[in-house]
Symmetry: C2
Subunit: 383 residues, 2 copies
């Protein structure tokens, strides 16, 4: 395996009733800004649980952080943090709220054009402390230091990250996911699955621990995902296992010392930026096309995946790889995600625009095996 | 799964050449005490690498920390830390040196009888900062906050732990393990294996992520362990995979939300305290006896272990469980560890003393299924 540094100081508070412990972790004298989304937390009781746990605290609120959070929206929160001298941010929501709150934390002390935090990966030297109460398990943002922000004006969706942006703590209570619409549960399962694949399905580097951890997460998502979608009433253990798998999928651990990719995410981000498709949906569309394109180059890892994750032991190597890709796509469909561009009315004209954008940018993921000229072919296979 | 809190802020610097980065992590103005064992680090070049990386630092040394570090020895270091106003401890060694250095860190500011840190689990409210350069992968001490110390005078071996005792960083360079005697490599493999078993082979709580991570570590140790012992010259990837598996075996992660035991360790500690047997050896002796005694009570997890780790799919349930225990013992033997008390000239008289000690203490591990009256039977089966 390759050399690596691993550091992840997030304090995870996992389980039912854990929101009640918030007052052990939010500093007593902090001026808190609680950030959230469209208000579902007021309907499902999470807002009340948080307020009850933090009785006596000085708390302001910022709501309206949308899915794929907008730079423009978040900058309004930055103004509040600056003017009100907020010194603790509490994100209550899913990955978009946590990502957006990390951006707020970084932008508050940033001098210059705050979009440069993404566009130029400008250095972050100071950030407001933050914590999170997770309401949707998917992105892993609750246990990492990165995020993704979209500039609505230019339809650009870009990532950022810094060790200063690890949440001090994240509360993961599986019960708060009970009221989620099935669509969000589906998206979360697919998102977590592809987070693992971006770090696992690349090239062998003799990393049996990382490989088996990744395979363990994939197997868990394959077992537990369809159960969550089929259940008439949510099951605690099922939701708990999905939640922990999604967190472990992107807290850095399985990516240590191995070759990571993220090309599926980069292409998916463009589909979201142009068409507003859900993040998980874009990944489910792109991945089968990407794996098919890379069937030879990533053949060794694809065969390992076929055998260990899908238990495919018969047929030629090519048949095994093809079947593994097919089963992957069927899994996305089994949790309720349509996997073709045509399912979302996205056509060749969009592919042309997105392809051009990658050609101008000059790169796709972190590995050279996906070239900018491959993007059109990968997407055309998904029409 | 059960509720849990997970927090592990240790910065892991993994790979060849990583010792050279020490000066990024040891505070520049610190008064450093470097702690080590019998001096093997002066023969294998690690001492020189550390000194070279920390050129210009104010470094004192404390050597002579023995295997199963003695309270009496460590208290001499505590006196130095106090009198010299040391403010950073750098442990350079295996689990005994790291454990011992954690005790020094805790004892320095402790008021009262420092043995109470173990004997009464007396609260630790302040500790000296510490970091580690690992030279033997086995105990996982490099990425957790606990340790075990032995009082030579009374032959007591006891554990302690506190979040203040997480190393700030640990350097894991697989190359530094090349010069280890085979006996220490063998012990390390068995120690890591049984750390996993203590957290895995108990009772099912519907924790597929934790179970598969544990199984992934066991499979890795089973694959890589015998290779390390058979190799005429050490192989980097082999040693790297063993090192990472041992660290992940006891950094808290696989124990989250599940039922842990530690009875094998508790019984093993007594064998070390009375007879000076290597820690790994004691575990390899005790575990097969413990699993045989618990074949019914822990049957469900034993069957999962038989199938997923040893690929045992045929025979009656009892046959599968028996074969899994047999294969476990054969694995210990395959890495060069004799697994019977008689191999070490330990007889019934010692069993009587140890059994009596547990009956006086009133408990064995953390689960009620191993009773104090079972200890004699477990050990007698291992004569």
């Amino acid at each position: 395996m390759e050399n690596f540094d691993f550091y992840n100081p997030v304090n995870i508070l996992f389980g039912k009733g854990k929101i009640a412990e918030l007052n052990k972790y939010v500093p007593k004298n902090a001026k808190v800004l609680m950030t959230y989304g469209g208000g579902s937390i007021k309907k499902n009781g999470v807002y009340d649980q948080v307020m009850s746990a933090l009785e006596g605290y000085d708390i302001k609120e910022f709501s309206g952080i949308e899915a794929n959070p907008h730079f423009e929206t978040l900058m309004k929160a930055v103004e509040i943090v600056r003017s009100e001298k907020i010194d603790f941010l509490l994100a209550v929501g899913g990955g978009s709220v946590v990502d957006g709150t990390k951006f707020i934390a970084a932008a508050t002390f940033f001098e210059g054009d705050e979009w440069d935090i993404m566009a130029k990966r400008a250095p972050i030297t100071k950030a407001v402390d933050l914590g999170a109460v997770l309401t949707l398990s998917a992105t892993g943002s609750e246990m990492n230091n990165g995020g993704v922000v979209t500039k609505a004006a230019t339809k650009e969706k870009k990532a950022f990250g810094n060790p200063l942006l690890f949440p001090k703590f994240s509360v993961l209570d599986p019960e708060v996911t009970y009221s989620l619409p099935k669509r969000q549960v589906s998206n979360g399962i697919v998102d977590a699955f592809i987070h693992v694949m971006e770090q696992y399905l690349t090239y062998p580097v003799n990393s049996p621990v990382q490989d088996r951890f990744a395979e363990g997460l994939l197997l868990t998502l394959i077992e537990e995902g369809p159960k969550a979608i089929a259940a008439e009433t949510p099951d605690y253990e099922n939701r708990a296992n999905l939640m922990w798998a999604a967190t472990m999928a992107l807290n850095g651990l399985i990516g240590m010392g191995v070759k990571s990719d993220w090309a599926t995410h980069m292409i998916g981000h463009e589909l979201t930026a142009f068409h507003g498709l859900d993040h998980g949906v874009t990944l489910a569309i792109v991945l089968p096309g990407l794996l098919t394109k890379l069937k030879e180059k990533r053949g060794e890892k694809l065969l390992q995946y076929a055998e260990r994750v899908w238990n495919i032991t018969e047929g030629s190597d090519d048949e095994k790889k093809t079947l593994a890709i097919q089963k992957t796509e069927e899994f996305f469909q089994s949790v309720g995600i349509a996997t073709r561009l045509s399912d979302y009315n996205v056509g060749q004209d969009s592919i042309d625009i997105i392809s051009k954008r990658f050609i101008e940018r000059g790169y796709v993921g972190m590995l050279p095996d996906v070239e900018v000229t491959d993007v059109a072919e990968i997407l055309e296979a998904r029409l």
